[in-house]
Point group: D2
Chain length 305, copies 4
């Protein structure tokens, strides 16, 4: 029964490489004021959010993406109380943040209210009720302007917006100017983490290396890491940065200790050994990062494929 | 210019998931006595060997696959002199083995002489002349029978054969009986390593976990590890096993020291930090491995999709 | 904007040939007791009914298929009053029948009530209200048994069921036994017409020629004809048969005269010149029909690809 | 065995509709000074010539395309002696012309010598040795300029060049100015025929109707006709024009008579009944042709998709 008859979701990984997923059911398909939205049930990955033709996350493996995005920064931080999330419409980034007992306030700014409402209705396994938590402060406006108008005071800032596309809403959140401004909204031991696109030899130059280089021009150091997310067809990159801390310096035991005492539930992807693996990038990726010279600015922005 | 016009190579990752690569040139296409063979130049991955419709390795990222397959075992072994390779027709597994000054004899057994000759002609960046090395002892026969008729004496045995397919030549090399027999051909501190199929939540149950479980029924312990290989559309699993050694116990410094003194050239993927990352599997994979109960035997063989 | 990103409907024309249509919207997707059903809005063909993965008809060109199926027989018949339709769930075959003022009763038997109701709701441009016509007598049961239990008395019998698939409900409607039984339900000058699958050199042998041969073993003569239906990716074949009449003998003027006086509306595809073209098959198709020797019976049924 | 694994040729029929053919073998793939060239052996259509990503003709059904292009004009002409062919690199248009005993000179001008040589070597079933006929006068230059510099004297002019693409070599051969100039190179009873792109409701407006309208602005009348060519995924349009003759006026018997006496071999597609079918276009196509108002000129050229 492996013939190709039926409905398929087609997605370019690069112009030379397509990933094609059999669709079991189209849950929703439409356009908001900002982007096109599909919510698909695919045979391989379950409920999947697609924005402007690009898979954002899927039921089967969103735990990998969202734990990898959120948990390293919150575990490395000594006591995260106030967290800012840009994007994250599925509610799963928020969910991971709210697993932490220490968190007293999660400010989430996603420009697209319709996407958030669609996810709330159609992706219950993603948000798991997180939108009902009283610690949430949810806004539907431009995350850049919102943060600009905020005063100092976030322990962790999480940037969970789509890859920068020409004409899309996200590209200004991938610039040196934005990282500088965000840094000034962090508390003393504050940390910032961004999703930074695919890694691997075919994709490195799209986004990951230049975002890492740009963040390291603003912070004393930037710590890139990666995890394999099957529905993206690739390992995926993240960059963690802060004034003070070195995530690679934490031992497996320290991480296990913090996980055991700080969280309200066990995780599926992240633990001490996983943390160690996340930051142990292969040699060729570390070399590509070391050689990267591109600074992303408002005047020289980055557009992914 | 990202339209779909043109020639494409289509490959099922699962029956629900296709990877599709634009073909720049078909270098060779035909059938041998054992399998169908294509050598393609794809826009994304360069020269690519395809056997029975399945990508075996590609120019862009074969260094990841072949260094990950070969280097951990040869570096962990105290002094690898005699190495056995089953399969590996591209010559790149052999190339990695021969980078080691300590190696005095590499016995390579690939059943399909035509594939080896096609690779020798069309994949020069894969083998890099390894087939001309006087330390090579090359045979075209059944690897299982050849090894059975050998006496004790290999320091490392590397199984680099395609995933087991019904009717294909490789499935008997993925059984408890084979691992037992191979173990008896190892020297005292000998190690065995096998490629073991895709990992990740969508693929784990195909092959990786049951091969790991089966090897751990024969050896005191089996050490699974993974690396992301883009042309496979997935992280890829390997299992390393031996009577005595724990690869996870080696420090980054020890590995770097051995690499600096034992090899004739620098590597691109593997080093001390990469080694640490390879064996730091995510929590959900370690849990799936722990729960696996399937033993692969001649009577209950495994067939991948 | 011709990239392949997005949702696509994939359909085998043959195992070597796929037709792939961009999906604008999935109107409905589900399963009935008899078959899987999709109603898609495709970028190329508009609202499209897909049963068991096969396109049945589409908004853009259904007028070609349904006029070609219905009009030649009703125009050739001297005075069609009672018409039987097997299948035709979209209601468009019915619509074409009811355009004829002479028709007093249209008995339609489609086994799948859910498909008929879905078409009634989602394909208004197909049926154009035909289901509300008081001349309709609609049944949801097995068309073969229903016809068997009917007595003589249909002026035209129209078989508009999907291609015969193994295990599908339709294959018994493509046998010599069925044609014999149906012939006995016709009035003296009665005519029978069946949709008979794709024509063209790649497809001729699937269905068209053997259905024509089988019908000509039951009737004095069978008149095959074809029309190009873009959403099928092929010219499509029909067979018209009766005891007495030769459709090819009617002049363009006679057809125009009957059209002008008998119908309540103008048609888009069919007229006198079109009629002449429909029955003027290319030489190679006429030769293939002449050579065909396969008789389809209950014991040796036909299954299309 | 109908899975999608393997190599496929993908071709846009429209931006919303793809035709996808399984490739058995890539015979040739490269670039000439004018265009990209592939010669494929597809599972469905046999040896296939692809220029700039567009199928030109295929072994299985090229007899339909080439007989439809050539035979109506040569049969309708009272005594074709001198024939001009623009394009036609496969040699099959030439082959059809040379089947006529009356033909004393065939002047063929195809700008791309490499394509002609590749077809000569790899498409023997297309040309069937026609390039060796002493009546052939072959030139590799611009057909427009060549014809301009010729004097009056062709009985039939056949335009067999690819659809007009922006930047491609052929678009000037689809203009009023070209048809006017070509008309002046015809003998008194001379005829001109052009391939004019796909027909059918999804494609009509691309090319066919405006080419017909433009030719009818130059000649007293233009006679459009169509044939289904499976490898194009569509019926295909042609326009025949001349000062004097009406091809639709010839009876089946007259055509059969001329075929029997003038040709050196029997044909497969074309005969008297086929001729009648070719020119009996469906009503909706005739109406679209009647309404067309677009004139193609050098200043307002046509580019197909």
């Amino acid at each position: 029964m492996t013939d190709a008859n039926g409905q398929w979701h087609v997605e370019y990984i690069t112009p030379q490489l397509l990933q094609v997923e059999r669709i079991k059911e189209v849950i929703y398909s439409g356009k908001t004021a900002y982007q096109s939205v599909q919510i698909l049930d695919t045979g391989c990955f379950g409920r999947t959010l697609v924005l402007d033709g690009k898979t954002q996350s899927a039921e089967l493996d969103e735990f990998i993406y969202h734990e990898a995005l959120v948990q390293p920064s919150l575990i490395v931080h000594p006591n995260p109380e106030r967290v800012f999330i840009a994007g994250g419409g599925e509610g799963a980034t928020l969910r991971e943040v709210l697993f932490h007992k220490s968190v007293r306030k999660a400010v989430m700014v996603d420009i697209d209210q319709e996407v958030v409402e669609l996810c709330r209705r159609h992706l219950p396994n993603h948000h798991q009720g997180a939108f009902d938590d009283p610690r949430l402060d949810l806004h539907h406006t431009d995350a850049l302007r919102f943060l600009e108008e905020s005063t100092k005071g976030f322990d962790v800032i999480i940037i969970d917006v789509p890859d920068p596309l020409e004409g899309g809403p996200a590209y200004l959140l991938f610039t040196q100017e934005f990282y500088q401004m965000a840094k000034e909204r962090l508390t003393d031991q504050g940390l910032m983490v961004v999703q930074a696109g695919p890694t691997g030899p075919a994709f490195l130059e799209q986004c990951f290396a230049s975002v890492a280089h740009t963040m390291s021009s603003v912070f004393p150091a930037a710590y890139p890491y990666e995890a394999f997310v099957p529905c993206f067809g690739s390992t995926w990159g993240f960059i963690l940065a802060g004034e003070r801390l070195d995530p690679a310096a934490m031992s497996v035991g320290e991480i296990e200790g913090r996980l055991a005492t700080r969280l309200t539930r066990p995780l599926r992807f992240y633990d001490g050994i996983t943390h160690s693996g996340l930051f142990s990038l292969p040699k060729y990726i570390r070399e590509a990062l070391a050689k990267e010279e591109r600074l992303i600015t408002r005047d020289t922005p980055l557009y992914a494929v």
